[in-house]
């Protein structure tokens, strides 16, 4: 039973991972930015100096100033306050889309990889078809069916993440299911669901954590892009993509209306990319995601 003997180092696997992650300055920066944005979204009403929807006709297109840090938009709404309130919308869409995509992807990946045969053929086929619609296209097809709106955007983003989650999960399952501990689990009469959930799934955690972070970056780009196209959050919602789209008409006279929401999107996406890269390096640099 050498395989189940306790780890030799007192620090443990998680401790080792955490130490490596902490030493990666870029990953720490990513984590701090994400933490700050979560905090901002939770405390938005307390942080934002103004009502994000309140129009002020004495501050139309107002430039940046001590009063309005990021200036005001075409109807005099405070852009800083709108961006602060928009953080929550972006994070909510991202988290919900990830959860749905992950649940579907892990489920299908486990089933296909574990049972093999016809089930696996179907899962691989589905993955291939979903991957045949690159980037925004699958999302647009989903939007075409369900019509514009935040719910459609969440669905569209989760759909575009399902194949990645299937691939990662299925890959791990295929590698693990022939190993001795799985055979042993079968021998002692464990049920298939228990073997999948309690024995195999924990092996998927490391690559899935990396994938979640990197996918969050992609999903936020897709979601804000869809809102920019007018398919997601509708005005006057302070969603960043929608704000950017509204600011387009004032690019020459008041570029700050479009610049700040774009910077906000970029910062969040960058943070998730930094964290994702850092997680991969800390968990397993050879991981192919």
């Amino acid at each position: 039973m050498t395989e189940t003997s306790p780890p030799k180092k007192p620090i443990g696997q998680f401790g080792l991972f955490w130490r490596r992650l902490r030493r990666n300055r870029l990953a720490v920066a990513g984590m701090l930015i994400i933490a700050a944005i979560v905090l901002v979204s939770l405390l938005a009403p307390h942080i934002a100096p103004y009502d994000p929807l309140k129009q002020n006709y004495r501050a139309l297109l107002a430039p940046m100033s001590g009063q309005h840090w990021f200036g005001c938009d075409q109807v005099g709404r405070d852009i800083f306050s709108r961006i602060v309130h928009g953080a929550g919308i972006t994070l909510r869409i991202g988290v919900l889309a990830i959860l749905i995509g992950m649940a579907a992807g892990i489920g299908l990946g486990l089933l296909g990889g574990y049972y093999g045969g016809l089930m696996d053929i179907c899962v691989v086929y589905l993955t291939d078809i979903l991957l045949a619609f690159p980037g925004l296209l699958l999302a647009l097809a989903v939007i075409a069916i369900f019509g514009p709106g935040i719910t459609s955007v969440i669905l569209a983003c989760s759909f575009s993440s399902i194949p990645q989650f299937i691939r990662v999960t299925r890959g791990v399952v295929l590698a693990e299911k022939e190993k001795d501990y799985v055979t042993a689990a079968r021998a002692i009469g464990e049920r298939h669901t228990a073997i999948m959930m309690r024995y195999i799934l924990p092996n998927c955690v490391a690559p899935l954590v990396v994938l979640v972070s990197l996918r969050m970056a992609v999903i936020i780009l897709i979601a804000s892009g869809l809102s920019f196209l007018g398919f997601g959050a509708q005005p006057p919602s302070p969603e960043w993509g929608a704000m950017l789209s509204e600011g387009r008409a004032y690019l020459q006279t008041a570029p700050h209306i479009a610049i700040f929401p774009g910077l906000a999107i970029m910062t969040v996406v960058l943070a998730f990319n930094l964290l994702g890269d850092g997680l991969r390096d800390a968990l397993d640099p050879r991981m192919k995601i």
Partner: protein, 308 residues
């Protein structure tokens, strides 16, 4: 080689069928009656019935799909609801415009990406390496619908060097192609850097250095050629993502491409256009990947054609 290509095409067939199935389902899954959707909300019941009969929407679903498939193979996707023109006549010129934009972007992204990646690898673990990798991170994290606006603001509004929109020649292609290329150049750079670092550790590079070959000759003559092999696969994938990403860039630069047409058709509920457009994009993507796969095998003699 021929055997390998034939097998790859055979493997592709189910995916192509899957693509048509998804496109077919777009109209079927829209809530409500497809005939009513196509006839328009204000059409009377007789018109809706006529549309239903004309398009075979009264037949069983599987028969409808068979009909759709048969029409798709012959390039007949019906009429646009909005303009009443044939869908093919509407989407084909737009598709060519998108291809033009995508090709220009892929050329830019390969040249810039390979150059940056090679420089970063050559100066591994120095300030140059960190700076370029920082650029790469910014490249993949910046939304094109924002960088495009900034580029317009700088090069069109302020400097007046390039037009901000339209499609009347090469000059109109520059800004949208650069905008679209940026994220993909970043990914190509990252890929080139890591495969370059891999190659530089190989024995034949040590040999080349040991025999006193100049460093530039080692890098560009020996290493780069081999480091580019994995980059080829990435470029194939990039082509698809560029087509998908072109949607946003086309909107920003009012480029008359297929992506912009699809977006407008979703807004005006012109479903035949959406179906055909999505299908055309996906098919092109899948076929490009096939070509890239074959190219990859051709370039890398270590891979055998028969075993997988």
């Amino acid at each position: 080689m021929i055997h390998y290509i034939l097998r790859r095409i055979l493997i592709l067939a189910p995916t192509l069928i899957g693509i048509t199935l998804v496109s077919f389902l777009i109209l079927q899954l829209v809530p409500g009656d497809p005939a009513r959707t196509i006839a328009g909300l204000e059409a009377d019941e007789d018109t809706v019935q006529a549309v239903r009969r004309e398009l075979g929407l009264d037949k069983p679903l599987i028969v409808q799909y068979g009909l759709f498939l048969k029409n798709a193979v012959t390039g007949n996707f019906g009429q646009s609801i909005r303009t009443k023109n044939s869908v093919m006549a509407e989407i084909w010129p737009r598709f060519l415009n998108t291809l033009r934009l995508t090709f220009a972007s892929i050329v830019i992204s390969v040249i810039v990406g390979v150059a940056i990646g090679t420089i970063a690898a050559k100066h591994h673990n120095t300030a140059v390496d960190y700076a370029t990798m920082g650029l790469v991170l910014l490249g993949v994290s910046t939304p094109t619908f924002w960088s495009g606006l900034i580029i317009i603001l700088v090069f069109s509004v302020s400097l007046g060097w390039f037009p901000s929109g339209g499609a009347h020649g090469l000059i109109h292609l520059v800004l949208p192609a650069v905008t679209l290329a940026a994220p993909s150049a970043a990914i190509t750079a990252r890929m080139t850097r890591s495969s370059m670092l891999e190659v530089l550790r190989q024995d034949y590079i040590k040999t080349a250095r040991a025999k006193g070959q100049k460093e530039s000759r080692v890098i560009y003559g020996h290493a780069l050629k081999n480091a580019l092999i994995p980059t080829v696969t990435i470029v194939g994938l990039q082509f698809g993502y560029l087509m998908g990403g072109a949607v946003l860039v086309e909107i920003i630069f009012t480029w008359p491409g297929l992506g912009r047409l699809i977006v407008n058709s979703i807004l005006t509920r012109d479903y035949p256009i959406v179906q055909a457009g999505v299908m055309l994009f996906a098919t092109t993507f899948v076929l490009t990947n096939l070509i890239v796969d074959i190219l990859y095998h051709y370039l890398d003699p270590r891979i055998s054609y028969d075993g997988d």
